[in-house]
């Protein structure tokens, strides 16, 4: 039975339970709702929850666990020599799964009976042609071991699915019967339902933890796989990035890190002065009208998707810079050869970060107590002297926090550098050369056709983990500084 049907049955049982529970509770007090402990809906909801919670919970766990258990037992059937050089168990298992799905499809379309599918022999039948007829294309001939594995995969999942259906429906029915028996006036249905709702709310909140754990684990496992195939020392301390899909690549993060930091530095060089002065003007000088117009306009820059900035860098800023600094350019210098460069990506990223720096600094400058300004102005300082000597020093930790947050944003930015920075990994100080970044390489290593067992692909996970740790560190540091600063004036 397909899972969707199972879910529908459980849902129908729950809906029926709702009405049965409600009417049974009401009839237990002869229809006088005042004699119930809880409102009638809670009795209904209690039955529905008792049906749904255990049944669906077990269903989800089962669906997660069954493939793992089956794969473990089936992969035991595959002889070790079947796994070709340079390949791994996962690829062979993917073959097994595809053959098993194909057999299912063949049975489903009536091309085979169930018993025929189980009795197939790779030696006698051309499985590939057979499955091709039912619309499942296989890359290569099916080996006997793979077919055997696929057949036992099928029979195991068949048994598993049957057991799952029985267990889930039984659980639903048990929940139904027990809770309907409880639906009488003295039962505290509301307390039970509210506890269930609370658990639901709590699990929604825990999803945040689950996501973080998922991010860390998914990247950690693949990174460990990567470090088995490639030396960690080369990754962290080598000086060349030269992936080669035939193997034997130099995969070192340092040139990428250099590109990332250089581009981020240029972005901050644009964003910090502009953003900071804009924030100072908006919070200290501008009247309410100017502020009401200029602030939202600046913040539009933050709402523009990064793909737009990427295109702007690739098609507008890059060619413009080449016209200025390139061969036969307006300045008569031959510094720049292509449109993609550190400067292109950095400048555009700087534009993107202006509102980020300005609105964060604006908040922080506004949080400086007015009494400090009044004291300084009262002593005869001009507004600019007050800002430079009183407001900014007081707001400095917060501003540093804002800049760190902007830096973390710049390091993790992807689309602008993918389109504007180029693809050459190198150490260079020349901002007119194209360089590459961590995020760019993650995209290019994972969007190629490489298989998921080669170090050239797995390196993306190690890069991602490094990126995650780097940005996380910056964020935590920034939040810590900002919080510390807030406490000072609260």
């Amino acid at each position: 039975m397909p899972v969707s049907w199972l879910v529908l049955i459980i849902l129908a049982l729950a809906v029926a339970g709702y009405f049965v529970g409600r009417s049974r509770a009401l009839s237990s007090v002869q229809g006088d709702g005042r004699n119930l402990h809880s409102l009638p809906v809670y009795y209904g909801a209690n039955v529905a929850i008792s049906v749904l919670a255990p049944a669906l919970g077990v269903l989800v766990l089962w669906l997660l666990a069954q493939p793992m258990l089956i794969e473990r037992s089936v992969s035991g059937l595959l002889p070790a020599e079947l796994i070709p050089e340079g390949s791994n168990l996962n690829l062979v298992m993917a073959d097994v799964r595809r053959v098993a799905d194909g057999l299912d499809a063949a049975v489903g379309q009536g091309a085979l009976s169930n018993n025929e599918a189980n009795a197939l022999r790779a030696e006698d039948t051309d499985i590939r042609a057979l499955l091709g007829e039912v619309g499942v294309a296989l890359g290569q001939e099916v080996r006997p071991e793979v077919l055997n594995a696929a057949q036992s995969y099928r029979s195991l999942s068949h048994t598993g699915n049957l057991a799952m259906t029985i267990v889930v429906i039984t659980l639903g029915l048990v929940g139904f019967v027990l809770s309907v028996r409880n639906s009488h006036g003295a039962y505290r249905a509301r307390n039970v339902v509210e506890r269930a709702v609370l658990i639901l709310l709590m699990s929604a909140a825990s999803l945040a933890i689950l996501t973080t754990v998922g991010i860390v684990l998914s990247m950690l496992f693949e990174s460990i796989n990567f470090f088995r195939l490639h030396s960690a020392a080369d990754f962290f301390f080598g000086d060349t990035w030269a992936p080669n899909f035939r193997g034997d690549s130099d995969l070192s993060i340092l040139p990428l890190l250099w590109g990332t930091l250089y581009i981020s530095f240029i972005a901050l060089l644009v964003a910090v002065p502009v953003g900071l002065f804009a924030a100072i003007y908006l919070s200290e000088y501008a009247g309410p009208k100017t502020r009401a117009i200029a602030k939202p306009l600046l913040e539009i820059l933050a709402g523009i998707p990064t793909i737009v900035y990427g295109l702007f860098a690739l098609l507008t800023v890059g060619p413009m810079l080449v016209n200025l600094f390139g061969q036969n350019g307006a300045l008569g210098v031959d510094w720049m050869s292509g449109a993609t460069s550190v400067l292109t990506a950095g400048a555009v990223m700087g534009i993107m970060l202006i509102p980020f720096v300005s609105s964060l600094s604006d908040d922080i400058i506004n949080a400086v107590p007015q009494s400090m300004r009044d004291g300084s102005l009262g002593l005869g300082a001009t507004p600019s002297e007050t800002i430079r000597q009183v407001v900014i020093p007081a707001a400095l930790p917060g501003i540093v926090g804002a800049i760190l947050l902007a830096a973390s944003r710049a390091i993790g930015e992807t689309m602008i550098v993918v389109m504007g920075a180029g693809a050459i990994a190198k150490f260079s100080l020349n901002p007119f050369e194209s360089m590459t970044t961590i995020t760019t390489r993650i995209v290019s290593q994972l969007t190629g056709d490489g298989d998921f067992a080669s170090p050239e692909t797995l390196v993306a996970f190690a890069l991602g983990l490094t990126l995650f740790v780097l940005t996380l560190g910056l964020n935590v540091l920034a939040l810590f500084i900002v919080r510390k600063y807030r406490e000072q004036y609260e």
Partner: protein, 447 residues
């Protein structure tokens, strides 16, 4: 006398005249103010430059050059048996239709009194490669029209279209094999005769993407559907989960280390680079759970995880803005804590939650990087999904991914498409944000 020990006051100048130091300080003051104005000016100038670039380069994509001609649907070519058997008509490939177009083009030229040395083969090359397919689709849909003469509007190919839009000039085609100066001369004659015209092109908005040989036929429609299905997934998952999580954290969570961990996690997730969510999606949803690659469902799941922190943060803010007196009043008349939250606090916070959700959705709509990793690029999204299941599971692109795809292609005619696509994307984002602002203005309650 004690007075004698006091230093004599330094002589002051007139208070009507500033001394050098005051002048310097005032100059520094106005300089400082000017820096602020310049900074804001730079920001606004950049915004202006961006908007100007987008509009000036993108508007062209909404117009396309069409060549209008009378095509005689010859029975002898299309349906030799004369039985109008649809299966037999379908057997005629686009190659069978090409001669009809050639003949029609020659006739149109002659009727308008245009003299040209151009061969009919070169004339036909000025049309889009999709012209024959367009004719064939029409005949298959209307087999009864075979034998009649019907007026058709064919797309001109991208070079001719570029010529009308000023992108292609006689100087720029020196090394271009796809178009000759003679063809441009002929195009001038066609424009004069009113056969070749630039008009609004609805297919750019609702049509499908085309292969990289036919930039003139590419459209955003299918990618828009992909984005729509992703947004449905995000809305269906992120809104309930986000609201539930916020209610728990704001109303029920005890002050303990678990709550602290959750809070720290949420604020950190809000700052994790979006590409990391893409890696998560690839590793968990595709490699581990074996969900189909390039499917809007997977894109939606990834974007949900990415949007959740945004929604949680804004929902918590609006729950916090509901005054405690409301909760106290509900508890005072005998409601349980849960009832006070769900019956009173949540409805009062709803406008704020809605606003935050729309802003979160707008953010998700424009996000590209995670979509690259789960494979929503690199192919031609040409089929409109027919059912909801297909819309969620069959490979599709999304608006930002489609724009990226076009920007990567070699033919500059696609750049215009990319800018045009950005206009469409921005129209969506602007209307969503405007909606959020209107909702906030309309329903915001100050306590």
């Amino acid at each position: 006398m004690s007075d004698a020990s006091m230093p004599t006051a330094t002589p002051h100048g007139s208070i009507h005249e500033q001394d050098a130091r005051t002048k310097r300080r005032n100059a520094a003051e106005s300089r400082f103010k000017a820096y602020g104005i310049i900074a804001i000016g730079i920001g606004l100038l950049m915004l202006l430059a961006l908007v100007y670039t987008i509009l000036s380069k993108g508007v062209g994509a909404f117009q396309q050059s069409f060549i209008t001609m009378q095509v005689e649907l010859l029975e002898s070519k299309l349906d030799k048996t004369g039985e109008r058997d649809i299966e037999k008509i379908k057997k005629v490939t686009t190659f069978g239709y090409a001669p009809l177009i050639k003949t029609a083009f020659e006739k149109t030229t002659a009727e308008n009194g245009i003299e040209t040395a151009l061969k009919s083969k070169d004339m036909a090359k000025m049309l889009s490669k999709s012209a024959a397919a367009q004719l064939r689709d029409y005949v298959i849909a209307n087999p009864e029209k075979i034998g009649e003469t019907i007026e058709f509007r064919f797309l001109a190919n991208s070079r001719i279209d570029g010529y009308l839009k000023g992108r292609v000039t006689r100087d720029s085609i020196a090394n271009d094999k796809n178009v000759t100066p003679a063809q441009l001369d002929f195009a001038d004659q066609l424009i004069a005769a009113g056969v070749l015209k630039k008009t609004f092109n609805i297919d750019f908005i609702i049509g499908a993407d085309a292969s990289d040989q036919r930039p003139e036929a590419a459209g955003m429609g299918v990618a828009m559907m992909g984005s729509l299905f992703m947004m449905l997934v995000v809305l269906a998952l992120a809104l309930p989960i986000g609201v539930a999580a916020s209610i728990y954290l704001e109303e029920f969570a005890p002050k303990n280390w678990i709550t602290d961990i959750i809070e720290v996690n949420i604020s950190n997730l809000a700052a994790v680079p979006s590409i990391v969510f893409g890696i998560l999606g690839l590793a968990v949803f595709i490699n581990y759970m074996h969900l189909p690659q390039s499917a809007p469902l997977v894109g939606g799941l990834v974007l949900t995880l990415m949007t959740l922190p945004t929604i949680i943060i804004s929902t918590r803010a609006s729950l916090k803005s509901v005054p405690p007196s409301i909760r106290d009043a509900a508890l005072g008349v005998g409601a349980s804590k849960m009832q006070s939250v769900f019956h009173h606090v949540l409805p009062l916070a709803a406008p704020g939650i809605l606003t935050g959700t729309i802003i979160g959705l707008a953010q998700a709509l424009g996000e590209t990087a995670p979509l690259l990793l789960i494979g929503m690029i690199g192919f031609i999204a040409s089929n409109m999904p027919e059912t909801i299941g297909e819309g969620l599971l069959s490979p599709n692109s999304a608006m930002p991914a489609q724009i990226y795809e076009w920007a990567k292609r070699a033919d500059p005619a696609f750049y215009e498409r990319a800018w045009g696509g950005i206009i469409i994307l921005l129209i969506f984002l602007i209307s969503m944000n405007t909606l959020a602002v209107i909702l906030r203005r309309r329903f915001e309650r100050r306590w």
